[in-house]
Every structure is written in structure tokens, then in C-alpha cells.
Point group: none
Chain length 539, copies 2
């Protein structure tokens, strides 16, 4: 039997059922791109027509020209109706997705309790819906909801459901442990029996983590003959989450010899998992297997001296296989390869043996220790490297800012910012209002600079994220602000860290303006001819 | 074969190897008491003599008169020495613990690389150390480090190690997957073979979560004949953590029919797990299986209407069996069934046909349209429903706030807040500084209220999240702030939405304080006797 596994990602659909996970259409598109880079074979985007985000996603995802198949999710036709007249099925076809996940009931109890129809009608609903979608030319993945609970209560009916879906032409028959309560040995027995019963069918597995067994159950099913695994990155999903693809993929490929993704893509796993946690704005637990920050961190003294002799003593894989790295918590020895590759990308010479390079690496390590994260802030990292390399000239220097928010009962809130800079030897003092404190700061800073650097009029902030770094004492903890900025050609990301959200925002904002100027190659002071005639500018 | 399982907790020893987990002697004693209440059979407290905390723990734990056996941890004697002269072994005996965990090498590679001794000498080290501890009257649990890796590389030697420990009189032979890289089917095969080889021995299992399989591996071992499970509460431990007893205990007992703890104790599981996360000062992931806040939380509208008919439709166990409870999340994906069930959960009558109820549903829909999200803000939703129901009395009214952040080059940023409220007819005006704007507002608001409501001194903010809702124009876009608050008993979540991050934070903050007062059942105005004697309070 083939060892090739089809990776089906439902982060964008089932993942958003998780508490605290909410993705905009833009977020979904960014994540889809990353999943495609990783090598997912199917990317389930949402439920066509259910809300404006999903409508926009299916419309715009075509422009990305992904290698992965884009999948639309929906339920079987309503009871007592005709498939070709079913609004949901029609919307799945109209979405333009190459494949459809059709979910149907396979537990008799659910047919009676939730659908409130007959077992026979449910079989017809499944058959008709699959046949209709197949006629439209879509690939059809049939998700048998509550399959394992159904099998345990009424095996004949659960089998009849899969047989019916197979007869209707479904390309994949996926057994779902919807409630997450099934044990690994049960999954193995049940999938094996279905594999014997339908040897020609392509079987898949979809598990949930309610017993902390979603990954194990997925492996059990694959070992019993399933060849598609459905899951989400970082295990996002309803209740305790879906099966975590970031653990399943390396387990299958590095431990059990199955083929999931290209070897080079596997090295992107940590990066992709962390990127998605940033976009979803959900903290990744530091102890997350394979991709977490502590996954290869060693604290115990005996462990540390042993890994220095031979890292196999306390590491189950070489961390670089999944793009992670070893960390020794007593003395940080972690890698500089990211910095080197970033510098090369920028066209800078970067000799790791030079004093200058070592200084940059030390500085970045120190900043990361303080809570900066450059994975999501390329522009800030570039400024840092250029500065250390002497490539940057300061175009303005900071003198002070004040930011005031005032609210009186029954009146609108007012935000004002006052910014004092020195630009080309002139002191510039501006005041501006805004819709909020960061907008007020943005407006005041822009007002101060745009007269010297008119190109800044074309840039704007397009995303703003705040992350609390130490949740133990929330309002007195450090926060990290990530800002995304755009102009007509480019998008760039900057970072600021402080105990004060306003100060962190200011830092990221200033980086953004400096990077905008760098892009325009205004590396020197503004030309005298373009300066306003007066030295001191007050607004 | 008996179905009784011996629960061995090592939260206090292996758990503290986790990054960010640090426990004082007092913390350890509190946790030991809770674990004893839960019914753990063995509580491993630490390494006697290794540090002052552990010395104090072993001294003071005797006063607690636990039912559980207290266990001291240590390694086999040093190579080329005599067990009765080994300082570590002596300290284990002197600790007064009833049982000893003795860790020894079972992987030949480690004997050579880490111990740098011969295979024969390692066997003697194991035999001598166990025999010496047994002579002292202690129960001895032998932890065979790297047993599974050892078995895969040199099965004869791994078997010889366990045989030697058995001959020396060890009460338990525990197979450790120290690096966490073993697959469940391998664990099953290896434990089965040892069970056949040493049918009289009591076998145990100790796993790590590096492949997200620690729980599955533990179940595999029990199904193959192991009768002691070693793990930590919430899975704390080095790298990706140890096997999580909070998932293992209910899986073994509720799913697989083994006997771990008394039925009544099982109902304490959620409480114990959350208590330990509080003492360890590590946030519990909301999606933690069985005991997490989202473990039985339902978001999808179809799911919600089904669980209202019969909760077995989407719940694998009755949450009360482990002391958890069902929660219905209100979200864009759901209809009004979520709100009805939320009101029922609060003990409110809620007839969807009444004008009042319709009004609440309309209001919630309208707020969600504005960007509020109640799935992560139960407390704000409850305030809203109670208000509409006339159950809430305002304990204070807002008059105004001002918030100022000021930064000058070379100086620290300063945040100040000024809050004016009316409490019980008195105008209260306070000023406070903070580490950031929200902290300053929190401090000023607390200062204003705590004199009237002293219980507020025990609450604090434990998480703070900011989400930008419309990314097209980031700094002028709406933001949603979610605040998590805690007091000694409870955790609650509130939400605020505004174009202004400070106003949104203020709103969530005020909700949090109002909900804290609601919990204290201070539904009426403060009693005149508890009021400060002067009407106007300025700070």
C-alpha cells in the first residue's frame, strides 16, 4: 500500500470554530498561501455564502494560484428536498473551489435527534448530494460526522453510510471522531474493518482532541489504512481543538516513514506554525511539540552537559528537520543563521567571524530576550542590520511626544498627540487629533515629516496587532506591537516592545516611517531645495 | 489482571523542569495537599538535599499527614563507589520519604556517552543502590531512563537492566520514554514483551510529550500491562512536558474502565488542575482537554441547537463527571439558541417569544455587528442580559476619565490616569500612575472603588488582548479589547469595542469590575455604614 499521505488542512474552517480564533478574509488568504508553501494538498477555506468573509475568500483565493486544491465545506441537502435545488450545495459549486467537503450524519442517534428524519432519508440525502456535486465536476470528500460513535452504536448503519457515499462517487471517505471521545485502539479496529470492507475506497481521518488523543488517533487510522489526514495548524478548533497537523506531519514522515510534504518544506514547519499563530493572534504554548519555543530547550544541568556531548542523548529528532532549534536555557547558544540569511537577502556582506557581525547577533539576541520578535517584523530587522553596518543615516531625531485621551460621560472620546522632532537641524513640533491614540500619533508624526518627504503621503498603516508577552500581571506586563504598513508597491512589518502599549506603538510607527524612507532610497538628508524656507515649523 | 492503577504524580519534581515553572516550598506543600485530596497514590516531592526548597518540603510535608506516599528522587550511586557511602542515596533515606524513585540508565549509548562507564558497572550501580534503599525500609520505584530508545538499540541490555532491578527488590519497574520520541504501537509492543518476560513484576510507565503522544503512550502501556502511571498535572515538564495526568486519569477511568481515583474525587479534577495552574502561575490553555475552560464550549450554531436537544450529540462525556461544565459561546456563527442556553446557564428565565427576550437578542446582534464578540466575554454578556432583565443595579456611574502618556528623549515614559465616578451619591476623583495606560486606568478605577467594595482588592487582570477589526485603515480602525480577570475563586472575561484602544480598554475594565461586584452579590448600593464619612473623596 502506498505511503503517500494527503494533507487536508481545515484551519480556515474548523479552526475558526475554536474559542478566540477569528480570521478576516485577508488573514485567511495569508494563511492559505503559507499552507500552500508548506505543501498541504487540500485547503478548506470556509462555508461559501455563510458570511461575507468566506464569500470574499473564495473570490480572491483564485488570484493566489495555489498548488493545493481549495475546498468548500457544506452539509448534505435538507431532508425532503432535491439536491439540485439546495441553496447550500449550489453555493458550494458557485464558489469556484476545486473540491467540496460534504458532511453527513453516520450516527443513527444524530439522524433521529439532530436531523429528525429517517435513516433511509439520510442515506438518500448523502447519495443525492454527492452525486450532484460530482456532476458539477468537483472532487468530493465525504466527511462522515460522528463515525466512530455511530459505529459503536450501530455498525451496520455506519457502514451503510460509507457504502452509500462510495456508490455515489465520493473521492474520499473520511471518518470523523467529531466528539473526540474515541480511544486509539478503537480507531485502529474500526478503520481496519472499513478498510477490509471497502478496499477500493480512499479513506481519511478527522479527529478532535477532547481526550488529548487527536494526534494518536490520526496515526492509528493511518496505520489501519487511512491515507488522508484532516487537521488544523496548531490544533485550533472547537472545544479542545482539532488534530494538530504541526505534530502529525513530522510524526508520520520522520517517525513512521510516510510521505506528507517535501523534505525542504518540512524545514518550514516551525516558521509556518508560528506565522499562523501570529496571524490568528493566539499565543503558541512554548511547550508545543516540534515547533514550540521550548520543544528543544534544555534546562536540567545533567541534560545540558549530555547534549553538549551528543544531542541525541536528550533530543528525539534533530530540531533543524522541522526548522526549530536547540536552546540551552542556562546559556543561550542559539543560531545566527536567520540573521545571516536575512543579511544576504538584503545584499549585505555578513561574515559571522567579524566583530561587527558578532555585535549585531548579540544585539538581536538581547532584543529577542526583551520580547522583540523579528520573524514577523522584517523591516525592523533590516533597519537594525543596516544601522549596525553604517548603511543608515538618521533623517530625523526624536525629542518628545505627549498623547492624551479624554472621555466625559455623554461625549465622544478625544485623542490628541503632540510630537517634537528634529529634522535636518530644524525643530518640528506638531499636534494632531485622531480616531484613537495610535492614529493621533500617526497623524502628528506624518504631519511633521511629510513636508520634508512628500512620498510619505502614499503610505498608510494596514494592520496593527498587540500581544501581551507575560500574562501573569496583564496590565503591567510587556506588550509587543506589530504594525503592517503599505504604499502603492510594498508591504512591510515593524515591531515595538514596551511595558507601555503607547510607547511600543510609537516605536513600531517610527520604524515604519524610517523603512518607508529607506525604500524611497532617501538615505541622505533632505536636499536643501526641498526644505521649507523657515527653520522652525509649528502646526 | 487487576484494573487498579497506581497514580504517581511528579509535578513537584519533573514538572518544575518545565520552562517558566518554578515552585517555592510553600507552593509545593499546597499542591501536595491538593494532589492528596484528588487521590494520587505517590507524590514525588523533589531531590532531597539538592536545594533549600526541597529540604524544607521533605521536612514540612510530614505535618500534612497525607494518605499518599511521599517520594524522594535520586540517581544510582556513582560509578566505582559503594552505595552505603553515597551522599545522594543517604539523603534520600534521611528525607523521611516513604518511597524512593531511583533513576538508572537502560540505554547502552547513555551508559557510554553520559555515564562513561561499562555496561556491567551500570548494572551493579542499579543493583547496589536498590538493595541499599530497600534495606533502609523504603519502597523503591526504579525509573529506567530512556528505556524505549535503549530497547530499540539493544533489547538484551534494556531487559537485563530491568531484570537486575527486579532481582534487587525494586517494588516497581518503570519504563521511561525520556526523550518522548516513541510511537504508541512501539510502546505497546515493548511493554507487552517485558510483561511476558517478568510476569511477577509491577510495571510502570513514564512518558514525555515531544510527539504530542504522551497520553496515548501511557494508555498503550497500561493496555499492555503497566499498572503505575507517572505524570504531572497539566503536563508540566521539560521541553514539551510530561504526560498529563489531568487527561490520563479520566481516559483510564471513564473510557477504559480502570480504577484510578474515587468517583467523588474525579469531580474535583477540574478544580485541582486549575488550582495547580494558579499556584504554578502558568496560564491553563483554554482548550485543555477535560479541565480547560473551552473543553465543553460550543460555538457552531448547528452544534448548539443539537446540544440543547441532547448534550450527548456533541459531548463525549458529561462535563460534571470531571467537575467541568458546559458553556455556550455566542458568536456570529450561531443563532439565538446560544443566547437562550446562556441565559439558562445563568438561571434566568428566557422565553424567546417574549418582547424582552427579543430585545436582548436584537441588542446582542447589533453589538456583534459593531465588533463585540461575546464568545470570549461571558461576563460582559451576563451583565447585558441581567441589565435587560432588570437584575442589575448600577453601583457606580461614570463621569469622566483622562489618560496621559508622555515621553521625552532619554527619559522613561510616564502614564497617568484621572478617573471621576459617582459612587452612592458621592463624587470620587482619583489619580494614579501605571506601567502603561491600561494599568494606570486600572489603578485609578480600583482606587476609586476599593474603599467602598474592599473585596475588589483580591481581583486582578490576568490577560489582555487587542484585536484590530478592520485592517484596511489600521490606526483609525475599530479595536476589540478582551480582558481576563481573576480572583481567588473565579476567572471571567469582558469585552470593549471602540475606534480608540483606550476607550475599548476602559469599557472592558469597567465590565470586569462590575462583574466582580456581581459575583460578590453586592447587587445593591453599599451600606451607609461602610461608606467613608466624607462625601467627596479626592486622591
Amino acid at each position: 500500500m502506498s505511503k503517500a499521505i494527503s494533507i487536508f488542512d481545515t484551519t480556515l474552517r474548523d479552526g475558526t470554530q475554536g474559542e478566540g480564533v477569528s480570521l478576516s478574509a485577508d488573514d485567511k488568504l495569508k494563511i492559505a498561501k503559507k499552507l500552500d508553501d508548506l505543501g498541504a494538498h487540500y485547503i478548506e477555506g470556509g462555508i461559501p455564502g455563510s458570511n461575507t468573509k468566506d464569500i470574499e475568500f473564495f473570490k480572491r483565493v483564485k488570484e493566489l494560484k495555489l498548488n493545493a486544491k481549495v475546498v468548500a465545506f457544506g452539509s448534505t441537502r435538507r431532508k425532503g428536498s432535491i439536491a439540485s435545488e439546495d441553496a447550500n450545495l449550489k453555493r458550494m459549486i458557485e464558489s469556484g473551489a476545486q473540491a467540496a467537503t460534504l458532511v453527513g450524519k453516520s450516527w443513527d442517534f444524530h439522524v433521529h435527534t439532530a436531523l429528525q428524519t429517517t435513516l433511509e432519508e439520510n442515506l438518500s440525502m448523502i447519495y443525492d448530494s454527492i452525486a450532484y456535486l460530482k456532476q458539477s465536476g468537483m472532487e468530493v470528500i465525504f466527511d462522515a460526522e460522528h463515525f466512530f460513535d455511530g459505529f459503536k452504536h450501530n455498525p451496520e448503519y455506519a457502514q451503510a453510510v460509507l457504502t452509500k457515499a462510495h456508490e455515489a462517487g465520493a473521492d474520499w471517505l473520511v471518518m470523523c471522531d467529531t466528539n473526540g471521545g474515541t480511544m486509539p485502539h478503537e480507531v485502529h479496529e474500526i478503520v481496519s474493518s472499513l478498510h477490509r470492507m471497502l478496499p477500493q475506497a480512499h479513506l481519511g481521518i478527522h479527529t478532535h482532541n477532547d481526550c488529548e488523543l487527536a494526534v494518536a488517533n490520526t496515526l492509528s487510522a493511518v496505520q489501519a489504512g487511512a491515507r488522508q489526514v484532516q487537521g488544523t495548524m496548531n490544533g485550533y478548533g472547537e472545544r479542545c481543538g482539532n488534530a494538530n497537523l504541526a505534530s502529525i506531519i513530522p510524526n508520520l514522515q520522520l517517525k513512521l516513514g510516510y510521505e506528507c510534504v517535501a523534505e525542504d518544506s518540512m524545514k518550514q514547519l516551525t516558521n509556518v506554525a508560528r506565522y499562523i499563530s501570529e496571524i490568528a493572534n493566539v499565543n503558541m504554548p512554548i511547550n508545543q511539540p516540534y515547533v514550540g519555543n521550548a520543544a528543544f530547550a534544555h534546562k536540567g544541568g545533567i541534560h545540558v552537559s549530555a547534549i553538549l556531548r551528543d544531542s541525541r542523548t536528550y533530543e528525539h529528532i534533530v530540531p533543524e528537520l522541522v526548522g526549530n532549534k536547540q536552546r540551552v536555557l542556562v546559556s543561550e547558544l542559539a543560531g545566527q543563521s536567520n540573521i545571516v540569511s536575512k543579511a544576504q537577502e538584503m545584499g549585505l556582506e555578513f561574515d559571522t567571524n567579524s566583530a561587527n557581525s558578532r555585535q549585531i547577533i548579540e544585539k538581536i539576541k538581547d532584543l529577542e530576550h526583551q520580547g522583540y520578535q523579528f520573524e514577523g517584523a522584517d523591516a525592523s530587522l533590516e533597519l537594525l542590520i543596516r544601522e549596525a553596518n553604517g548603511d543608515m543615516k538618521e533623517l530625523f531625531t526624536f525629542e518628545s511626544f505627549k498623547m492624551l485621551v479624554e472621555k466625559t460621560a455623554g461625549k465622544s472620546v478625544v485623542s490628541e498627540a503632540f510630537v517634537k522632532l528634529n529634522v535636518a537641524g530644524a525643530s518640528v513640533y506638531t499636534a494632531a487629533e485622531g480616531n484613537g491614540p495610535v492614529n493621533a500619533l500617526d497623524n502628528a508624526l506624518r504631519k511633521a515629516l511629510v513636508q520634508y518627504f512628500p512620498s510619505l503621503a502614499h503610505m498608510h498603516l494596514s494592520d496593527y496587532k498587540v500581544r501581551v508577552l507575560d500574562e501573569k500581571d496583564a496590565t503591567a506586563a510587556k506588550v509587543r506591537v506589530l504594525i503592517e504598513s503599505k504604499n502603492t508597491e510594498n508591504t512591510w512589518n515593524t515591531v515595538g516592545v514596551s511595558e507601555n502599549v503607547i510607547e511600543a506603538s510609537w516605536e513600531a510607527l517610527v520604524h515604519s516611517f524610517r523603512y518607508a524612507l529607506l525604500q524611497e532610497r532617501i538615505l541622505d538628508e533632505p536636499d536643501a531645495r526641498s526644505l521649507p524656507s523657515h527653520g522652525l515649523v509649528n502646526h
